[in-house]
Symmetry: C2
Subunit: 405 residues, 2 copies
């Protein structure tokens, strides 16, 4: 066996007991002869607690200092994990993002990785040690500490696997893999043995929640074999693979991989003062790295799904843009969420979109807007009907027609 | 050298001289030791002429008979090419879609390939012959002759390459490869040595015109190495490859591959009688395999780009839907075309969409609607300004910022 990168999320290292369980799992992989690089997140809700602390000492904490603060979270978990390994007589070395040489741009709180040096990781491995790397953090060319924002630890793990040419990258989380719908909502949901990178990006972007799309895009770009596995169970998980590594299907069939609903988003409708000022709105979002799903505009009306967590920040920007004369008004539809069907070949004609809308209509679920790209159909549905909508579409694609599998 | 599939389009076999030139090219490839399967389209405008003939003898020619008629086109070109090869002492065997075992569904004029038997092709090759296969045609399980619709010959070639596990599939056409914009319009446009399957699908869907998206999707699914080459020149062409075979770039950068404008489309705006009847509209399009680009709907307004060639067919369906009480009205904006920027990671935030709209605003080009997916941004612009829009966006992404290359 060669080099493997394992990543453990906040839940997996959330308590001392779980950290010891992770150490046991690492011990087993090592006993099988693998060289290991382990990426860890901060324990449980540590990051949220640190953010809350910051806001209790400062009205508007400087982003640089926030990064300094937050990076303490992974220091704690990686040091604890190294200790648990030492207890098991397994030599381990914890390394910060900076020590690992994860070089990012200068964007505090939402930095993007430029490249990875990885010398100290290679050194540790060559000395027979397990390298424990802090996820979510890096260092800019100017030697400032940065954090990678959402999905940061997944991204660290995949980027490291790419830089070290690892055999594969295992992302340990608290679910059994990638499903055709949320199995808590749809008990008959199908766990995929493997999904393609593209399908995983779309599922992740649209609320599947298992992996962050950034990390999947990196895995695709560098051909990193990726697996999603449950750190608390024995499920085989789901492999994220190149399209050509999937099982054969009919030559020109379209395919549905999953039905998702992102309850962490809401619909924003903006009425522009003039159609030409849409740039002011988008620039503001882009400058602040505010995520927006399926932006659609027509004349002076712009519609998009924003993250609920960022509602306050959006409101601040939107109010400013109203005062500055760019926007006539805006409306946050808190009761409307994006429902998506992810698959492929949706561009061929209107078949897939028609089927989705027909199924929702049969279940008396009203759809107020939507759009379709080659890989995903996303529509706006009332949050109160979202569960029913997921169930109806899942039944349509996975229960009533066997060939869809 | 192993087995190679070559496909020659209508222009490449458009005259007897060109057919002889194709025979010479085949002779050279054979002299280099390759086993060859050659897929040909009908000569030049033969298919259009046959369609016109049909409409001059019948108000509404039955689809089954239309397929019977149209498949004569490739019979002519493949027989002629086999003769030219015989002249050069190269043993060749022409095979219809049916003889090749290209098994399709029963959808006349727009059949989809289910599988390929290929026994007679393998037999011909094992006997040292060049197999000349009719593109664009197949046979249903019920032994009815079918045609594959748009992009049919490209699809035949790639499907054959997949079934025969060919070393690669060369699509010969009348341009030098895949460019960052139409080189007739933007002389400084960059020819790509290679592009990814995904980028090629998006470019092809949005008017790049070199390859049909169906064939690229098949190539991606089966991992068929694909090249676009000029049958009239010596350019190396463009390879369509897996993402991981592209040259390295920055780890988390977004990328632009091309700027396209599809002058063969126009904007259709439909006002529904009620929001719930959108299914009736989409079903009608799907049943008739009418292509629609970037469908977007909000309340009772639906907007999408349709093909100009299908305007008459759309109008017939739309008028029926008005009479049946589904639609309040519709409007064909003949002067509005889709302009697209193809790339990736456009979903991260609004940056790419903001840049596109800012660039168009600076060039005083009005944009009436648009949307963005992960891989493409498409906006509606006046056809009269489409050239300026392509030039401005190409300058923005390829001339004023070197790192974009």
């Amino acid at each position: 066996m060669g080099l493997i990168v394992q990543k453990y999320g906040g839940t997996s290292v959330g308590t001392p007991e779980r950290i010891r369980a992770v150490a046991d799992r690492i011990a087993r992989a090592r006993a099988e002869g693998s060289e290991l690089v382990v990426v860890v997140s901060a324990m449980g809700h540590t990051t949220d607690e640190l953010i809350e602390l910051a806001h209790r000492v400062s009205q508007e904490p400087p982003h640089r200092e926030m990064d300094m603060l937050l990076t303490a979270g992974e220091r704690i978990s990686m040091a604890l994990l190294s200790m648990a390994l030492a207890d098991r007589k397994i030599p381990a070395l914890s390394l910060t993002g900076s020590q690992t040489g994860i070089i990012t741009d200068g964007g505090h709180r939402r930095a993007r990785i430029h490249r990875i040096l990885g010398d100290r990781v290679r050194q540790a491995i060559s000395e027979g040690k397990v390298a424990i790397v802090a996820g979510f953090q890096g260092v800019s060319e100017k030697k400032e500490i940065t954090t990678l924002g959402r999905g940061g630890s997944d991204t660290t793990a995949v980027a490291l696997a790419a830089a070290l040419k690892a055999e594969y990258c295992d992302i340990f989380t608290d679910v059994d893999g990638v499903f055709s719908a949320d199995p808590r909502l749809v008990p008959s949901a199908h766990r995929w043995e493997s999904v393609s990178h593209d399908q995983m990006v779309e599922l992740a972007t649209r609320g599947a929640g298992v992996l962050h799309p950034r990390s999947v895009e990196l895995a695709k770009q560098y051909g990193v074999p990726l697996r999603v596995r449950n750190s608390l169970g024995a499920s085989e998980g789901t492999s994220v693979v190149a399209e050509t590594d999937l099982k054969p299907r009919g030559m020109e069939e379209y395919r549905v991989t999953g039905v998702t609903c992102d309850r962490g988003r809401l619909l924003l409708k903006v009425e522009l003062e003039r159609a030409t000022v849409i740039g002011a709105l988008l620039d503001r979002a882009a400058e602040n790295h505010l995520s927006l799903l399926t932006p659609v505009f027509s004349g002076t009306l712009v519609q998009l799904f924003i993250e609920r967590d960022a509602e306050g920040e959006w409101q601040r920007h939107l109010n400013e843009l109203v005062v500055q004369g760019f926007l006539r008004s805006y409306e946050l539809e808190r009761g409307v969420v994006p429902l998506s069907v992810v698959g492929d070949r949706f561009s061929q004609d209107g078949t897939a979109l028609a089927e989705v809308l027909e199924t929702l209509a049969q279940s008396q679920i009203s759809v107020t807007m939507g759009t379709s790209s080659a890989l995903a159909i996303t529509v706006a549905v009332p949050a109160t009907h979202a569960d029913d909508a997921v169930k109806a579409l899942h039944a349509r694609y996975f229960e009533n027609r066997r060939e869809a599998k």
